[in-house]
């Protein structure tokens, strides 16, 4: 399924459009809110493993309904090295597009999507709010996509050779 395109603010004066990232894989990490008290929150783990993700040609992007100002302060506090997008106005619109907006709580669910180089959603998972799922699930999914792509390429080469 083609991922719905969207454009959101990454900083107060900079927007990021999903389609700008074609040619790269994108890991979209929707999460409920900035400022979690625990050492090793989900975003910290992404931050620590960015080089694992870049080895899969994947860009990690966080999305929540917090404002860009909150994101900036939060990113500075946690020393985050990937963009946080602000699904702020209209509130949760992009989260709704990805079916992961919790209208009762007024925030995004904790959900992960892998979008491939062509903009197609290849994997997604939604988690209970209180659980930090770690990053192994999404890394394993990227590995599985690699394996599939390699098999496909191999088949194409084999067919071409015949």
């Amino acid at each position: 399924m083609l991922a719905p395109n969207f454009e959101l603010n990454a900083t107060p004066d900079q927007k990021l459009r999903l389609s700008e990232l074609r040619g790269k894989r994108v890991v979209l990490a929707f999460y409920p809110a900035d400022w979690s008290p625990v050492c090793g929150d989900q975003l910290d783990l992404f931050n620590e493993t960015l080089k694992y993700f870049s080895s899969y040609n994947a860009q990690v992007i966080g999305i929540s309904v917090d404002s860009t100002w909150s994101h900036m302060a939060f990113a500075k506090d946690r020393n985050l090295h990937f963009p946080l997008l602000s699904d702020f106005e209209p509130k949760g619109a992009v989260s709704r597009l990805f079916w992961c907006y919790n209208a009762v709580k007024g925030c995004s669910e904790r959900a992960l999507f892998i979008i491939d180089e062509q903009g197609i959603i290849r994997w997604s998972e939604i988690y209970p709010e209180g659980i930090n799922p770690g990053v192994d699930g999404v890394l394993e999914a990227l590995e599985a996509i690699n394996a599939k792509t390699n098999t496909k390429n191999h088949e194409q080469i084999t067919t071409a050779g015949q």
Binding site: V38, C39, G40, D41, Q42, D44, L45, N47, E48, T49, Y52, R78, N79, L80, H81, N132, P133, G134, V135, D136, G137, L139, E140
Partner: protein
Amino acid sequence: MNKLQLPVNDRDQKTGNLKAELTLVEYGDYQCPYCRHAHPLVQRLLQEHGSELRFVFRHFPLRKIHAEAAMAAYTAEAAGRQGKFWQMHDLLFANQHRFHEGTIFHDLARKLNLDLNQFLADVGDMEIVAKVESDFRGGIYSSVNRTPTFFLNEEKVYLYNGTYESLLTTIELFV
């Protein structure tokens, strides 16, 4: 995966009864306040149940929020080369509040009477850096999502809630 993906091996730092049937693995970060909190609890567990238990400490430094965590891990491993991993392990937790002082790791090495030239050479040694990286990577693939995270006989421990009792119950449930 909620199972330990990297089995306990020769490179691991172990203490307690090395032949025990129970193995408790901790993924920890010397700069994490929750790990410092857990440290005396683990010590007490080893004092009271050390004969039934093998304890392994693996490094899970969150470098982006704890600037000195990786250096602390290298310091412990370098002390380990001189047979003093666990002494350094204790000292690091005891001195966590001083990590921002530039000379702290050197001071601790001196305190343990380590051969300082050897220590300085070992702290940046590629094998030690790789060991810490391998600990971290193993943790990531075992679903370690915060520190401390414990595994008992390769099963992730969910019961630990910061109390000694919860740690003890974890062990007792297994026996």
